[in-house]
Symmetry: C2
Subunit: 465 residues, 2 copies
């Protein structure tokens, strides 16, 4: 919930004249707000649908469509969704003035205070719901089957980009330690959705390589979310306190270990108890309460709520309610995480990378560096897969490249702390876009024209792992 909170703080600390404007206007102001909320909502959902449709037709993941929709309607584009203040599109303002019979000042006041609070609250709900869903979909049983091979890929694939990113930014680009730490962390987590889809299309999802990638992606979500929770807490306090860092790492690790342990016995027991209740929707609502409770618990111990949300998903992901929960949480996710992804795009100010301005060039170089580390770090990790057999190690590494959703969670939470320079925020978003764009063609390349002989057999046959 830090996202919302920081932004709340941010917006509530706007110049008082705006706050006063919002406190004095009455009915007309109310109608301006109603019309504005509806138009912002329509923009978010219509543009995201449009760009998701284009993404689907050219074989790219939906999340990229949402992100681009955000860029188009946000501060870098049409300026309809302005989450960090600033003047909105005059045509939009004019339209609202006509529809709501209000003044330009009223419309601007609406966009300065309540609109960002409301959009950010929905986006915040979207990100925890998304992590709940990712947790539910993480199949811990599948993971055990490919345990060692996946673990080696995941651990190297998390630490290598993290260290390369942090060290490179600190020593080559002289970026301060905290932003460098954060950018390093943002390079860690793979987004498996994209890879899984492409591997399915070319028929290698059930191959040994496919299974190792799937397992490694689950593990590196877990590692990545632990790193994120710890790094964000450090960035928020503004200093690296070694004892605090160790405490946070231990707490986060304990949280995850408890969640994995509870997946086996507590989860099924909890669902059985809920099924004894007589009121309708007890199973779903009981699970939802557990989810809120763990968000809360994570927050109270000083970690990010998303860690709690993900833990709730892991705990309930081994129960017979799993499929129903995935369906239900999926409905929430499809609506609210769209708001989250669009809001990240909307906040991304591409002008900080305008190469015409000399001062921006370093930002561009940093973004380029992040992209290279993101690709190289994961590809290298593929060569650390434990295996006696000959496997397509290049394919495994390539499959780990896309950062997608989890990378965007990093970008969103990082921007919300307000502690990162804009070039790092934008660099992370560009890194997510680039890795997501790159991986489908690269994957097709390394699996189809593979030199490693063990590979291109059409799946299933060697899918026993």
């Amino acid at each position: 919930m830090t996202t919302t909170l920081s932004l709340l703080n941010h917006h509530l600390s706007l110049p008082l004249p705006y706050l006063l404007a919002t406190t004095t206007e009455g009915e007309d102001y109310g109608k301006a707000l109603a019309v504005s909320i509806a138009l912002v909502g329509l923009s978010i959902f219509i543009f995201s649908r449009f760009f998701e449709e284009i993404a689907a037709r050219i074989g790219l993941p939906s999340v990229l469509g949402d992100l681009i929709a955000g860029l188009v309607i946000g501060v870098s584009g049409l300026q309809i969704v302005m989450l960090e203040g600033g003047e909105i599109n005059p045509a939009l303002s004019h339209l609202i003035e006509i529809l709501a019979n209000s003044t330009p000042e009223q419309v601007q006041a609406v966009f300065d205070v309540p609109i960002p609070i409301i959009v950010e609250e929905y986006a915040e709900f979207g990100v925890v719901v998304l992590l709940f869903l990712i947790g539910l979909e993480s199949d811990l049983k599948e993971l055990l089957k490919v345990g060692f091979q996946s673990a080696s890929v995941a651990i190297v694939g998390v630490t290598l980009p993290f260290i390369l990113g942090f060290v490179g930014l600190t020593f080559i680009f002289h970026i301060p330690a905290l932003p460098a730490l954060f950018a390093g962390a943002a390079l860690t987590a793979t987004s498996i959705g994209i890879t899984a889809k492409v591997m399915q299309d070319i028929g290698v999802l059930k191959s040994k390589e496919g299974q190792i990638i799937l397992g490694a992606a689950i593990l590196d979500d877990i590692l990545g979310i632990v790193i994120l929770a710890v790094v964000i807490s450090i960035v928020e306090t503004g200093e690296i306190d070694v004892f605090n860092a160790i405490r946070l790492i231990l707490t986060a690790a304990a949280f995850m270990i408890a969640a994995v342990a509870m997946n086996r016995f507590f989860g099924p027991w909890f669902i059985t108890q809920l099924e004894k209740l007589k009121s309708p929707n007890s199973r779903g609502m009981g699970s939802f309460i557990l989810f809120i409770f763990l968000n809360f618990l994570a927050g109270v111990v000083g970690l990010e709520p998303i860690l709690g949300a993900f833990a709730a998903g892991l705990i309930l992901g081994g129960t017979k309610a799993r499929e129903d929960l995935i369906d239900g949480v999926g409905v929430l996710s499809v609506i609210f995480s769209t708001v989250f992804f669009v809001s990240i795009g909307a906040k991304t100010d591409l002008s900080v990378l305008n190469p015409a301005i000399p001062a921006n060039r370093e930002g561009l170089i940093v973004a380029g560096f992040l992209i290279i580390v993101a690709v190289v770090g994961k590809v290298a990790a593929g060569f650390f897969a434990f295996s006696q057999e000959k496997i397509n190690r290049l394919g495994i590494g390539t499959g780990m490249i896309p950062r997608g959703e989890v990378g965007l969670v990093f970008a969103g939470l990082g921007a919300a702390t307000g502690a990162l320079p804009p070039s790092i925020d934008v660099g992370i978003v560009l890194m997510v876009i680039a890795t997501t764009f790159l991986s489908p063609p690269l994957l097709r390349l390394v699996f189809d024209t593979s030199e490693s002989p063990a590979q291109p057999v059409p799946s299933d046959a060697d899918g026993s792992s």
Copy 2:
């Protein structure tokens, strides 16, 4: 969205010291907010689940459990969820101070501004989603089968309580015209869920009486929502302007007629177009966009967004996507309309009815009057059922008694306008509670020990209508 808006106005017009407090505190304030949001959310969902479970075990509808949960945690009870300002429970404040390491002033500031904005926004989303669902579930084809009989029951059942309520409050209790008009309107709409459940339990749902009741309930939702949309607009402007009232009635009627007409051709065509899209969830998200657009359109023409939400449900309720949409919207409704129902209970200040204070006695008498009109008006309507055969007219009227969800939508929107005296707000909530409590036992009585010979045959046999 009027609910939220009025409350936003209300809260943004709080004394400046609070706003200043919220603008100056930084990190600790942020953590106080995060912890407070989580605790308020947990209270809403845990208490509503607890009272829903009790309601289920004694055969009462869930909505009553939510309402009572709201009374228990709101301004009349534990003062955890305080949506209209006021001091929160000291124990809760103390807990948050400890968990978030913050001051009592910070905690109070959090509960004065952002918490009400956020809870009201979710409640507002809950009410439009609920109306979308009610619209989807309104089976217009079933309605046609029992057309005339249901129509006569519905029209009398809407106009009789409306006129009795308005005239009685104006002439007997000398209540001003606007609140009397609103209270009259709140008496109109039947909530069919409760009756349907009881009739199913005692095996008369498929009887002629059951079918007439179901049809009349759909029709009287339509009539009731039109009346609500018009009356709220009138109450908000603060005066009865005949031309404006006629314009609103015609607009609302046109909206509903268009929705019913579009149910047949536009709805199925729209779904077919969505199915041609390649991006995932196109059907659901396209429907969601139509829903937001109609909320927006209703607001722009001066009506309540709920009218648009209900219209969207009617339009899509005749398509092959209906069942999937009901499932998806049901997930949203079970979460967010719970917030809405609990928030109504939380805002209901029962102290205005404390009989120990003489000034309150008129409020109590008004509440009693509303309950009597609510029961008598609907029971009388049962005798207007068109039918040559002998049917259980008393049973039909009794089946129309419960007000439930739609009555609460009235109460919630009415309270949000700020134009009604508290005794009317509370009177409407008590009327909803009383009619909902009364109808299950009354229904069992009139159907089981019925004197009308045509009735107690065990259903199905005469279910051809």
